[in-house]
Subunit: 428 residues, 2 copies
Amino acid sequence: MEQPHRVVILGGGFGGLSAARELKSAPVKVTLIDRRNYHLFQPLLYQVATGSLSPANIASPLRNILKRQRNTSVLLAEAVGIDVKNRRVILSDGAVDYDTLVVATGSSHQYFGHDSWEKFAPGLKTIEDATAMRRRVLLAFEAAEREGDKERLRAWMTFVIVGGGPTGAELAGALAEIANDTLKHDFRTIDPAEARIILVEAGDRILPSYPAKLSEAARKMLAGLGVTVRTGVPVTDIREGVVTIRVGDQDETISTRTILWAAGVLASPLGKMLCDEAEAKVDRSGRVIVEPDLSIPGHPEIFVIGDLANFTHQTGKPLPGVAQPAIQEGHYVGKTIKRRLRGGKLKAFHYFDKGNLATIGRGAAVADLNWLQLSGFPAWLIWIFVHLFYILQFQNRVLVFMQWAWLYITFDRSARLITGKNPLPLDL
Amino acid sequence: MEQPHRVVILGGGFGGLSAARELKSAPVKVTLIDRRNYHLFQPLLYQVATGSLSPANIASPLRNILKRQRNTSVLLAEAVGIDVKNRRVILSDGAVDYDTLVVATGSSHQYFGHDSWEKFAPGLKTIEDATAMRRRVLLAFEAAEREGDKERLRAWMTFVIVGGGPTGAELAGALAEIANDTLKHDFRTIDPAEARIILVEAGDRILPSYPAKLSEAARKMLAGLGVTVRTGVPVTDIREGVVTIRVGDQDETISTRTILWAAGVLASPLGKMLCDEAEAKVDRSGRVIVEPDLSIPGHPEIFVIGDLANFTHQTGKPLPGVAQPAIQEGHYVGKTIKRRLRGGKLKAFHYFDKGNLATIGRGAAVADLNWLQLSGFPAWLIWIFVHLFYILQFQNRVLVFMQWAWLYITFDRSARLITGKNPLPLDL
C-alpha cells in the first residue's frame, strides 16, 4: 500500500488550523504540531487581560477541534528547526518527516532592540501574558489603596499603554471602564475613577491601519472614557516606574507603575531558520517573503502563512497580521495541496478583505467594512456579532455571550483574579 | 467622636466571609484581610483541576462581594503574626490594630512529615494547585500519545490518587470520566479509556466520615467507572515515578507518572503562633482548641473559626473541616460581637449538621442527610442543587450551571488547557 502524502502543519493558530480543516477529507496524513494544546482566539486576549473573560473561554483544545478528523493527528511539540533538504521538521524532542510543510508559527511582540523594556512593559500574545497583565493591573489598584505617599500613589494610579493599534486602543478602553465602573465601589481610600490612563503612539494617529476618520472617532471615544491619547510621541526609554517619551525635540517622563506593551510585532524565529536553509528572504519584522501561491522560492512543498508570511503580490503592501488573512491563506494552501494531488494547480492566492473592527468600550467601536465606515454603537454590534461568530466552539460562544451580556448590564468583570505566585508583601 | 469598635478578620474563606457579612449593619469597623483578592469556593476546586470549570467560575473578588458593605474594608495582605498583648495583627508589610479578632485562615495539605513527597504528589488547596494538577493530568496523556516504550507508556497511563476522602473520591471519578468519555476521540496512538486510575486509602473504607453503607455505594460507583479502589493500604513512600503502599505486611510499588495528593490536612500556622502568644492549645493537626463560644481561653476578644478551629463541645469530636461549620461559626461570631456591643452574651455555639454530600461522577453521588441516606442519581441532583445554591455570585451560578449542563450532554470539558511555563520538550 502506498503511504499517503504527509502534510505537516506547524502552528495551531488561525492559519494552521484552517489549513488542517481544509484537508479534512483529503487523501493525506496531516500532523498538526503546536507548543500549546489549544487554539487561542487572539482577538479577545485583551479581554482576559482585563478580567472580562476566562482563559478557557477563548482557548479551544486542538485535539477537541480535530477529533473527528481521522486523517489528522495533533502533536504537542516544539519545532526548533527545518531540514529542508531531507524534508524533516526538527522538534525539541524528535523529528517528523513531511512531503508538504505548512509553516504558520505566527509572531510574538518585540521591543525594537530594547529587550530590557520587556520586564517593565509586558506584551500580550499568550494566555500567560494575559493573566500576568491582569495581575499587574489589579495589584496596582490594591497597592494604591494602601499607599500613603501622594507621589507614589499617583504612580500606582497611572497606567501607560504603549502602541495605538487595535490592541492598545482596546486595552486602554477596557482599562478606563474598569477604573470608572467595574471597581467603582470596591475601594475605601482611593477612587479608581481618578486613575490616569495614557495611550502613547509614535505615529500621528491611533489605529493607523484604519481610515483617518475612524482613527479620529476612536480617539474621541477614548477621550470620552477619560483616556489621555497622545500621538506623535515615540517612547525612547522604559525603566522601572518611568516611561520616557519624545515630545517634539524634548524628552518627557511619566511616572507609572503599570506599563503595558502593545507596540511591535516580531515574526517567529522559524522564518529566519527557513531562510538560512532555503533561498527565501525575510523582511525586517522577520516575515518570510512568499510567492504568489504562498510557497517559498524554489520549494513548492513549503508554504508560509499567517503572521509569519509577507505576501505583497496583491496590493504591493504586506497583508496585515490579523486573523482574516491567516484563515484565508490556510484554506488556500489546503486547497492547493488537494489540487496538486490530483495533478492540477491553483491560481495565485487572492485575499478578500472583509474589513477591520476594533472595539473601544461598551457601545463603542470602529468598523471599516471598505464599502462602509461606521463608529459607535452600530460598529460595536457588528464587532460583537463577528467575534461571536468566529469563536470556534459552541459552548465558548454561549459563555462569552453570557459574560458580555452580564458585563453590559452590571459593569462587573468577574474574572478579576490575581493569580500566580504570592504577590505579598506588596511593593509599596 | 468615639472610634467605632474595630473588628479584624483574617481570611476570606467561608468562615471569615460569613463573619464579615453578619456584621453588615453593625456599628463596627470591619477589616477583612486575605492574601488573595478572592473568595474561593473550595468544594468545586477539583472541577478546575479536572478541566470542567475555569478558576474565575469558583472565585469571587472579595471587594466585589463586600462593596456595598460600607463599614467593611478589604486588605490584600498577609498576616504573619498576632501581638495578643497589644491587640495588633502583624502583616508582612505593616500592622493593623483590633478590638476583636476573628482568625479564619484555614488549612493546607500536609504530608505527615514527608515533605519530599509534595514535589511528586501535589495537593489541591489553591487555584494554582488546581491548574498545576490539570496540567499534570493532561500532559500525562500527551506524553503517553508519543511514548514508544511499553513500560513507560503504562506509567504515563497510570494515575494514583492518595486519600479516599471526598476530594480523593471526586478526583478519581472525574479522572475516570475524562479518560472514558472526554478524551475518547482525541488521540491516535493511545486509547485514553485504557488509563488505570487507582484510589488508595489507608483506612478500611473510602469516605470514612460517611455511613458505611454510603462508603460502599461510592466504592461501587467508582468501580463502575473503572477506578481501582484499594483500601487498608497506607502509602509508605513516594518518589519520582513510584508510589509504595503497604499491603498486609509487604510493600508493593506502583509505577506511575501522575500522583495526586488528597490525604492530610494541616491547619494554618497562625494557630500555632496564637498559642505561643496566648494560653490556647493546638491539636496534632495544628487546630486551635476553642471555648464553647469559639474564643480562645483568657481572650474573649479572639475568635478562631473554620478549619483552624477544633470545636469539640457538642459531640466530643471536632467538627469536620468543611464549609458548613465554617459558615455557621462565622455567623455565630458576628452575632456574638453585635450582642456584646449591646452588653449581652450569646449562649454557646451549636452546630446544625445539614448533612454531607460527595459526587462521584455523572448521575452518581452520595448524600448523608442524617435523617436520610441516598446514593446515585437522587443524591447527585441534591449535590448539584446545593452547590449551585451556595456559589456566591449570580453570574457564576449561571456559568457553572451552563458548563455542567454542557458537560452532561456532550461529555466535553472545555477548560482543559495546559498553561504555565513551556512544558516542552516532554519528559518522555
